[in-house]
Amino acid sequence: MKELSLNILDIVQNSVSAEASLIKVLLTETDETLRITIEDDGRGMTPDFLQTVVDPFSTTRKTRKVGMGIPLFKLAAEQTGGELTITSKTREMSPEDHGTVISAFFYKNHMDFTPLGDVVSTLISLIQGCPDVDFLFEHELPDGKTVHLDTREMREALGDEIPLNSFEVLEWARESLLEQYGL
């Protein structure tokens, strides 16, 4: 992927497929480091399946399709000297608190660091594609400011009859984010 924001778009699709109702995309950035955490309340993965998802070539299992999304994200983190960690709890393992947390850590000054890129377009694409899922986005910037978007707040202001993927609403979200980034 040319931008980490494209990896985010890709990884979040897994949360959507896992029937998450709330997906948190949390970015913490300093001058030297970046942490990207994607947290969902979806159906979660068993420890066995988790293993195949991180390294699709380590298995001979053919019963499930395993994609390249997580391996590519892991590679992007590791090639900067960072790492990717995943924890996941299925409904059976934890009925009250199930879901998956993927966290990737990057050293920004490493020559193989992939730029974050257009994270605003990623968020707008996600809301457009999944208007019934809620997203919380927080990006702590190196200067201490935080960029914030919470579709639950948007939904409350919009009421039930206006879908989040209406063009006017998507434009509001885009402008709100760009403004907070000072773009």
Binding site: M1, L6, L9, D10, Q13, G67, M68, G69, L72, D118, S121, T122, I124, S125, Q128, G129, E153, M154, E156, A157, L158, G159, E161, I162, P163, S166, F167, E168, V169, L170, W172, E175, S176, E179
Partner: protein, 121 residues
């Protein structure tokens, strides 16, 4: 600073329009957004469709996303479904192609053959 109050204003403005729109979406524009599509540039294509459909008032169309369509080397792929008509598959789509697809195909009813999978194969 954008405020949530502006969303309440959008809500009031759109109330009547939404009911109208729901009855009219008989064309579906489906953008492949799996790993392969995203890596090949599907995100700007998706956003271009969302923008052009609104800009050109193509109120007969809805833009949706799907997973891998199964021809990763031809991504970004966009499929157009309309009633009983045969589906039209556009391949290696670029944002610059989108205004023309919306104008001539979605609004005008004439698929752009040179962008379709038939021309690429």
């Amino acid at each position: 600073m954008k405020s949530l109050e502006e969303l309440a204003a959008i809500r009031n403005k759109m109330k009547d329009k939404v009911a109208l729109r729901e009855n009219n979406g008989d064309i579906r524009i489906v953008v492949g957004m799996a790993t392969c599509g995203i890596a090949a540039g599907a995100r700007p294509v998706l956003n271009a469709f969302v923008e052009e459909v609104s800009k050109q008032h193509a109120e007969n169309a809805t833009v949706t996303q799907t997973g891998c369509i199964g021809m990763c080397r031809l991504e970004p792929i966009v499929e157009v479904f309309e009633g009983n008509k045969e589906r039209v598959t556009y391949v290696k789509v670029k944002p610059a192609m989108v205004p023309r697809i919306v104008k001539e195909h979605i609004l005008g009813g004439r698929p752009i053959t040179e962008y379709t999978i038939g021309a690429a194969e």
